[in-house]
């Protein structure tokens, strides 16, 4: 009973983190970069939104500026990586550390800033889950359509090829460095957008928001893709799957809390879930694989040998 009572909140939180997971999907799956900036940029989004709301700025503008702040963080990581030659994973860690200072100064040196739901019109808040869920579903749907259109434009296709095969991309005249910066900007913009929604939903922004966010995002991606890739391996279904994965994650999360697991152990649980998803394909290949036929299915007999 208590579980059912907690369900709407879990769905709402899952949807908010789903936005974050979509951002991570762009960096991790499309650009093939494990971008650790997100732990900082989700917090930046929350801080920017909370501070601006406190100044009486309309919520729509707050969310937009939060997105831009996150995008800027992505540009910093992108430039550290492409212009200064720092490996992408380190570039992300460096930006994340910078953002800790940035976020503290955005919050004016405090570690927590409350958002008064009575003084501000908020898009989402934990006191009205049904309304929050509707807003988040509409926002997610708009985002999916927008990204779907974008990634099938001439520019969007080169962003996909940049992650898929940088050698081929360069040979076809694609500016791989610029594309990585653009992709990281979009990804972190979305992550910060998720942070902005999170601050509204919780009614506060904290300097500790987003610690371990990348792990939650990855968990959502793995859970989601494990189902959606079996249904249809295309872009839109994958994104829906990622959001679904995030919701499933938060339902399980709440369920585990209700079972009585100490909240201290939750980050451990998240990390184990992600470790399992990362390990299973490897273990399968290493210990449980049988030799397969050489020709992949659907390859024509006269089309040359697959082992060529």
């Amino acid at each position: 009973m208590a579980f059912l009572y907690a369900l709407p909140g879990a769905v709402a939180e899952g949807l908010i983190w789903g936005l974050m997971a979509i951002g991570l999907y762009i960096s991790y799956k499309i650009l093939d970069i494990a971008d650790l900036t997100v732990d900082g940029s989700i917090c930046t989004g929350a801080c920017v939104c909370a501070v601006l709301l406190g100044r009486g700025i309309p919520v729509g503008v707050c969310v937009l500026l939060a997105f831009l702040a996150g995008a800027l963080a992505g540009v910093v990581t992108g430039l550290l990586h492409t212009a200064l030659g720092i490996p992408s994973i380190l570039a992300g860690i460096l930006t994340q550390l910078m953002l800790y200072s940035v976020n503290l100064s955005i919050l004016g040196g405090k570690s927590l800033l409350a958002v008064d739901p009575r003084a501000n019109t908020l898009l989402v808040h934990m006191s009205s889950n049904p309304r929050s869920i509707v807003v988040l579903v509409v926002l997610s749907a708009a985002l999916i359509v927008g990204l779907w259109l974008f990634f099938y434009t001439e520019i969007g296709l080169t962003l996909k090829s940049t992650g898929d095969n940088p050698d081929m991309s360069r040979a076809q005249g694609v500016n791989v460095k610029l594309n990585k910066v653009i992709g990281l900007a979009i990804a972190n913009g979305l992550v910060a957008l998720s942070g902005a929604m999170l601050a509204q939903y919780k009614g506060s922004a904290s300097i500790n928001d987003g610690r371990g966010a990348i792990v939650i995002g990855l968990a959502a991606i793995f859970i989601g893709l494990s189902v959606s890739l079996k249904i249809k391996p295309n872009f839109v279904v994958s994104l829906i799957g990622v959001i679904g994965g995030s919701i499933v994650y938060y339902i399980v999360y709440n369920f585990v809390i209700l079972l009585g697991l100490k909240t201290d152990y939750l980050k451990m649980l998240s990390a184990i879930i992600v470790a399992l998803f990362l390990a299973v394909p490897y273990l399968k290949g290493e210990y449980f694989s049988k030799p397969k036929a050489v020709l992949p299915t659907g390859v024509q007999e006269d089309g040359g040998n697959a082992d060529a």
Partner: protein
């Protein structure tokens, strides 16, 4: 005006270390418009280094490279791509495996143009791609929406060749593009290469490890040794060459025995 003009090109890898390796030692080369040049040479002769220098993978230590009168020596790789069609030795390198055949072709079709926020693969293009794929005779014309990763190595090289020539390049660079294929598939891809090059009158530089192929294809043959061109024959003289002639030429010019693990001599 020559289509490609290389003057005094030098490149040393790991300079100043015990692993220092001079790959190009003052190489000079000029290609006329429409030249189809085959390149042979022993291990470490600098064949691939030459192609990478032209493509802009890294900057040379000295020397200049001009393509159709434009000095590209300091132009970044993605900008130079506007002039070049490239097919790599590794069939995995030339195509994006997780993207559709049509998407790969569409990206290649826009090489050298400013990419915009408009639909990435248009309907009319699909019709054109279907026709072009049909000419490959690999049954790919009905698989426009298939992921390239599902294709065999030979199919991927054929698609890469198509991608390299969709936008007519000023220079086609083929880096042992059949070396990783089985003999039957390699022959088919070579035949395709000949057809595409002659139909479009492309200026071409083709590295091969097969001396017979080097003689049978193209109108000009160069042999490299220690980062320089040591043999350069064309026209009728080239047509009359035999593998024995080539080996003799090599020994005369270089004072060394021809060594290449993968060279197919007979």
């Amino acid at each position: 005006m020559p289509m490609l003009k290389i003057k005094n090109l030098c490149k040393t890898f790991n300079p100043g270390t015990i692993n220092a390796k001079t790959a190009l030692a003052g190489l000079n080369l000029e290609l006329k418009d429409g030249d189809f040049v085959t390149v042979i040479g022993g291990n470490g002769a600098g064949k691939s280094t030459l192609l990478n220098a032209i493509s802009g993978v890294w900057k040379p230590d000295r020397g200049t490279i001009e393509i159709d009168g434009v000095d590209v020596t300091h132009m970044p790789e993605h900008k130079r791509a506007a002039f070049l069609g490239r097919v790599f030795q590794d069939p995995m390198k030339g195509t994006a495996p997780d993207m559709e055949i049509a998407e790969n072709l569409a990206i290649a079709a826009r090489r050298g143009t400013k990419r915009r926020f408009v639909w990435g693969v248009r309907k009319a293009e699909r019709v054109r791609y279907r026709e072009l794929l049909a000419t490959l005779e690999l049954g790919l014309e009905d698989r426009l929406s298939s992921k390239v990763g599902l294709l065999s190595g030979g199919q991927r090289q054929a698609v890469t060749l198509l991608m390299a020539t969709l936008q007519r390049p000023k220079l086609l660079l083929l880096d042992e593009h059949t070396a990783a294929l089985d003999p039957k598939t390699a022959a088919k891809v070579l035949e395709l290469t000949d057809r595409i090059v002659s139909e479009n009158k492309l200026t071409t530089l083709m590295i091969t490890h097969n001396m017979k192929d080097a003689i049978a294809h193209g109108n000009r043959l160069i042999m490299m040794h220690e980062g320089r061109v040591i043999v350069d024959v064309e026209g009728e003289e080239k047509q009359k060459l035999t593998v024995e002639d080539l080996l003799k030429l090599f020994n005369q010019q270089s004072g060394a025995e021809f060594t290449n693990d993968r060279a197919i001599l007979g």
